[in-house]
């Protein structure tokens, strides 16, 4: 009896508590904290009670009733059911729950606890009436606790938690146009449904806020209105979703599914641009991003396409097509004919996949009108490529039922205005490519206006400006020669004509015409130009070929060039280098002059000495400062200076530059010629390497 008294005391205390604190505004935090243990405790009596019920029935059937076990078990349930009630009460003080549901949960919970207590008290009693009453009472308790549990679940998970996936979804109205979306009903509400409703619904409305309907949103929550139409930044709702996630007030709370960037954008847009809460998109200023984002919210009843069978696919592949899935695990197919001869039979196999083919490419094949008869059966076709085939207007009649067609490519076929217009009266593909057909720019413009489709018939006039032909290539690599040289020219452009002059004057179509290689036997200054009708003539190409009097075979040199640009023999090898000083044609001298004496083998008369130099100040290569030439009839003595050339190059060009420096001397007879090419020695003060030794690069010294 002592226990009974205690239980009664607890229950009465409990009811006292309700009357005392139900209106309390400031509940101690400790109480709230303890309240959070409600979900931990409440499942204990439920589980224990069900097990007890099971033992009760089994005991009755097996005629082995475990009376004591049932008594102790009910005692356990009693204890924890009362604790659960107390904690549940504490939890309810937090607020944010719908009063109606809470009330039901509250009273059924208390009733359950009372009934369990009753059962416990009865279980230790003997007597026929009690025995008869015990089982029905037990059943009633189970029902009562189930009801309490169910309403508890509504409080925590929302009212459609149990039925969400059981209910047959309402067949949504098809919305295929962005224009007819209601921004709130069809878009924003969906976002709220996914991310917010769990805590802000009519039963569990944290912060007294419910986002379940138009009205409840306008009503706002504990902190007042949450939406100020036309001004997102002053709207509480937007402010909270914008807060950093670490902020306590950030919504949805940390750990819950977050809004994506796009969803935030849509909500902002909705608040900023709606006059009434549920504007249609059409009433809202459009821009591309919005249109794009909203497409995801369209309700489309896509036609259900079945997966193609492996056999059908194989058959089509064997007919010469490649079959690719546009997206794995989806039935749509992209079918392409591999180049070559296409037959009527092979096109007919496509009807096996008439539902699945979404993109069909029959281009670059021998396709003709007769083969395309079955194409209308491919009813889900979105893209059709028929370019570079034999088809004519007739084929367009064979595709005039393809209502889903978006892109049609008929480039380089025999299509005419008539055929295309006929097609456009029945279907309107968004993009039509009709370059190289009988449809010209004007027709395209006309049809575009009339049927609102894009027809591309090639680049707009005026895009291409008639270009200058590129100058010809000089195939002859040599530029120095001693006897004769054949000059070979080539133009990259087919059927163009090369004209040239031999004196450097600008050629025109009356000048010499190039047909065969030109044989020259003296120093020649070519000027070359290419002409072709319908093109602008090439720029003038100037190319000089030098006839050398004597090839030097014997020489001596004072300073050797640096080893990486070695070989003084290159100075007299009759080969010129390119702008790349590392091309093995150049000799390089660091800080030193070139001082070389050539032996002509016999006394000969000379008048010009040319030194071919490269300058590239960025790589510390300068042009020489001075060239002096001395001659002698005798190897060891009697050198007489016959000419000097002072060179004043500023060397400031960043790019490589090749220059010829020629020392003209009065006609002199000599066997030995000494050429001194003076290195500037140090880099000038403006140079990044000022003060360091400078390079000079020479690839050839020749006499003429």
């Amino acid at each position: 009896m002592n226990i009974k008294k205690q239980i009664l005391l607890i229950i009465s205390l409990f009811f006292f508590g309700i009357s005392y604190a139900s209106n309390a505004e400031n509940v101690p935090k400790a109480i709230l904290a303890i309240g959070r243990f409600h979900p931990v405790i409440l499942h204990l009596p439920i589980g224990a009670l069900l097990l007890t019920f099971f033992l009760d029935i089994i005991g009755r059937i097996k005629k082995d009733y475990p009376k004591n076990t049932i008594k102790y078990a009910l005692g356990f349930s009693t204890f924890f059911s009362i604790i659960a009630c107390v904690l549940g009460y504490f939890l309810s003080l937090e607020g944010g729950y719908s009063e109606k549901t809470l009330d039901i949960h509250f009273w059924t919970g208390i009733l359950s606890a009372t009934l369990i207590t009753g059962l416990f008290l009865l279980s230790s009693k003997e007597g026929k009436l009690i025995k008869r009453l015990f089982f029905p009472l037990f059943l009633a308790t189970i029902i009562c606790i189930s009801v309490a549990g169910h309403f508890g679940s509504i409080l925590t998970h929302g009212d459609n938690f149990l039925t969400e996936y059981i209910k047959i979804p309402n067949k949504a109205k098809t919305i295929t146009q962005v224009d007819s979306l209601h921004i709130y009903n069809n878009v924003v509400l969906k976002i709220f449904d996914d991310k917010c409703i769990e805590c802000h619904n009519s039963t569990k409305n944290k912060g007294d806020l419910s986002l379940i309907s138009n009205e409840s949103i306008v009503l706002g929550g504990k902190s007042g209105e949450i939406i100020k139409l036309g001004n997102a930044n002053e709207s509480l709702l937007y402010e909270h979703i914008q807060l950093p996630i670490s902020d306590k007030k950030h919504m949805p709370p940390e750990g819950k599914p977050q809004l994506t960037k796009d969803e935030v954008w849509i909500i902002k847009y909705w608040i900023n641009h709606s006059k009434a809460i549920d504007d249609k998109v059409v009433n809202i200023a459009k821009n591309d991003t919005l249109n794009n984002l909203l497409k995801n919210y369209l309700v489309v009843n896509e036609p259900q396409i079945e997966e193609a069978s492996a056999k059908d696919i194989l058959e089509v592949e064997e007919a010469g097509f490649s079959v690719t899935k546009l997206v794995p695990n989806k039935p749509e197919l992209w079918v392409k004919f591999k180049k070559g001869t296409i037959t009527k039979n092979s096109v007919e196999t496509l009807t096996n996949l008439k539902e699945q083919i979404t993109e069909l490419d029959l281009s670059n094949s021998s396709l003709y009108d007769d083969m395309t008869k079955g194409l209308n059966k491919l009813k889900n076709l979105k893209k059709l490529e028929l370019n570079n085939t034999q088809i004519t207007d007739k084929t367009l009649q064979n595709i005039n039922e393809l209502t889903h067609l978006v892109t049609l490519n008929i480039v380089n076929t025999q299509m005419t205005e008539h055929g295309l217009e006929n097609l456009l009266t029945s279907i309107k593909p968004k993009h039509i490519y009709a370059w190289k057909t009988n449809i010209n720019q004007e027709i395209a413009k006309k049809l575009k206006l009339k049927y609102n489709v894009n027809i591309n018939v090639g680049i707009v006039e005026g895009f291409v400006e008639i270009p200058h032909i590129i100058p010809p290539l000089v195939l002859t690599k040599k530029t120095l020669f001693t006897d004769t040289l054949a000059i070979k020219l080539e133009s990259k452009l087919k059927n163009s004509t090369i004209y040239y002059t031999l004196n450097g004057d600008e050629p025109d179509t009356t000048s010499l015409k190039y047909t065969n290689p030109i044989l020259i036997d003296s120093t020649t200054h070519f000027a070359i130009k290419v002409f072709k009708k319908g093109w602008l003539p090439s720029e003038i190409l100037k190319k000089d070929f030098y006839k050398i009097k004597y090839q030097v075979s014997d020489y001596s040199i004072v300073y050797k060039p640096e080893s990486q640009y070695s070989g003084p023999e290159k100075l007299f090898d009759m080969e010129l280098g390119s702008e790349n000083f590392k091309d093995d044609k150049w000799t390089g001298f660091l800080g030193k002059d070139i001082n070389t004496t050539a032996d002509l083998g016999d006394v000969k008369s000379i008048s010009h000495i040319t030194v071919n130099c490269l300058g590239k100040s960025k790589d510390w290569i300068l042009f020489p400062a001075e060239i002096t030439v001395s001659t002698s009839l005798n190897k060891t003595s009697g050198f007489k200076e016959v000419g000097t050339l002072i060179i004043n190059e500023d060397n400031k060009n960043d790019l490589a530059e090749i220059k010829k420096f020629t020392v003209n001397i009065p006609e002199t007879k000599a066997q030995y010629i000494k050429v001194v090419v003076k290195n500037p020695k140090v880099l000038p003060s403006w140079h990044e390497g000022a003060g360091n030794a400078s390079w000079i690069f020479v690839d050839e010294i020749y006499l003429w």
Partner: protein
């Protein structure tokens, strides 16, 4: 017995453990449901459908990436900043630079004189996009282009910056974007590689930095996915030609015999790498005819040559490469990567960029219009851009006619066309100094994520496990820029 040993050889310990639970049952179910992904396509390296890509319907099936190597100056081409002309010669305010890291080339400069463009800007097309007079042909096609003025990167030097754009990481070693696409989406063409590369040198700065073939390397992916460089000379693809005196028939017989040997080896050891070896031999054999066919521009009519410009007749130029790129996408090459070198104009910028822009202007515009008139632009994405931009201040001495610009990572301009991006659209904004981004920044990873999205790939889900970690092109970041997509 043989089947069993083969099965175990093809399935190493990890595969086996992984498949224990779901594998066998799942495989059987899958083969019933979906004829594409089942036993028929075991090898994920060769057939990507086992990767279940694309994740969603792609807007672009092919990509032509026109990489402008060296860092084109956005201030001379697209990003019009009249304030810089007004303030020419004045020092860059520290409040604008804000401690930004500089390269060693200008960090020693004691003054940063602002310099505006020497070239005139104007607005073109219905979209009223700003383009300078260096790009007259591009100006004619602005209504096809989607400009991003707010590109930004973290790298300040060429190699890390290019590597970043291509592989998503500044350090070398990861697969190039084209390799990822090849691995994920597979080939559309049996006769040509999935990922091809074309190089050209600009005339603006002809001896500029070279490029490294690892930029189009496959990283840790199978070597099947590396970019194949097509050269301009006699041998477009190295080691492809039969030696003199060897007939195609001899080659066929040789391959048949090697294949027999390989098949025997495969039957014994069951190593799937042997199968990919056989596949590569066969591909090379087919390429012996398909490559010359692709590279032969003899059949291009004159009006197409006029459209791309005369340079398109000179092999190895950017224009010729643009024309080849079109021929390649026509033949369904998935990813064509062009590189045009020479945009690194530290000094003498006005004279260099004039030549450099002339190299690319007409051919780029022509490529886009040519793709369009053939109906290819719809599902081919064209991307144009360099690895970073150039500074708003002059590197070296600023004179009345001459200046230079150093590398600038904080803002630069790129453009895309076709393949599901908005035509005639400009995204992002820089400040009046052309130094910082003030609106809608697009990071390198964002661009990569967007390109992948257009190809039907969710960049966060497309990974490859290597050295115990899952790698992706966008590393751990990147957001799809939805505003760019139609």
């Amino acid at each position: 017995m043989e089947e069993i040993s083969k099965h175990f050889l093809n399935n190493n310990r990890r595969h086996f453990l992984k498949k224990m639970g779901l594998g066998i049952g799942g495989l059987a179910a899958a083969s019933l449901l979906d004829p594409f992904s089942s036993l028929a396509t075991e090898n994920t390296a060769i057939n990507p459908s086992a990767l279940n890509l694309p994740h969603f319907a792609p807007k672009a099936k092919r990509v032509i990436y026109l990489f402008q190597s060296g860092g084109p100056s956005q201030l001379e081409l697209f990003d019009y900043k009249p304030l810089l002309n007004k303030m020419r010669g004045q020092d860059l305010p520290e409040s604008v630079r804000n401690g930004q890291r500089l390269t060693g080339m200008t960090s020693g400069q004691d003054k940063f004189p602002l310099v505006g463009s020497n070239f005139k800007f104007d607005q073109y097309g219905e979209s009223r996009a700003w383009v300078s007079n260096l790009m007259p042909y591009t100006a004619k096609v602005v209504d096809e282009l989607c400009f991003i003025k707010s590109m930004n990167t973290e790298a300040i030097n060429h190699d890390p910056a290019i590597t970043f754009f291509q592989t998503g990481s500044q350090q070398a070693g990861r697969p190039s974007m084209g390799s990822w696409m090849s691995y994920g989406l597979g080939s559309l063409n049996e006769n040509l590689p999935t990922f091809t590369v074309l190089l050209s040198r600009g005339t603006g700065r002809p001896f500029s930095q070279p490029l490294y073939s690892r930029l189009w390397g496959n990283g840790f992916l199978s070597s099947l996915h590396q970019g194949v460089q097509f050269r301009s000379g006699k041998d477009p693809v190295l080691y492809l030609k039969d030696p003199d005196g060897m007939s195609r028939n001899d080659r066929r017989q040789m391959l048949d015999y090697i294949n027999k040997l390989n098949e025997k080896q495969e039957a014994e050891f069951g190593d799937p790498e042997i199968n990919s070896r056989i596949a590569q031999y066969e591909m090379a054999y087919r390429m012996q005819t398909s490559v010359p066919d692709t590279m032969n521009i003899e059949d291009e009519p004159e009006h197409i040559i006029q459209m791309y410009g005369m340079d398109s007749l000179v092999p190895g130029t950017y224009a010729a490469n643009c024309l080849l790129a079109r021929r390649m996408v026509e033949r369904d090459v998935r990813f064509v990567q062009l590189y045009h070198m020479g945009w690194d104009q530290h000094f003498n910028l006005p004279s260099q960029i004039e030549k450099q822009a002339k190299d690319i202007d007409q051919a780029t515009a022509a490529l886009i219009m040519d793709l369009k008139q053939r109906g290819l632009l719809e599902d081919t994405l064209v991307v144009w851009g360099g690895e970073f931009g150039r500074t708003n201040y002059s590197q070296g001495v600023l004179t009345d006619t001459d200046y230079g610009r150093d590398h600038h990572p904080k803002c630069f301009t790129m453009f895309m066309a076709g393949g599901g991006v908005k035509p005639g659209f400009t995204y992002g904004e820089t400040d009046d100094f052309g130094y910082n981004i003030v609106k809608d920044p697009v990071h390198v990873h964002d661009l990569q994520a967007t390109i992948m999205h257009l190809m039907g790939i969710d960049h966060t889900k497309f990974t490859y496990k290597h050295q115990g970690r899952r790698f992706r092109l966008t590393d751990v970041s990147g957001h799809v820029v939805n505003d760019l997509i139609t």
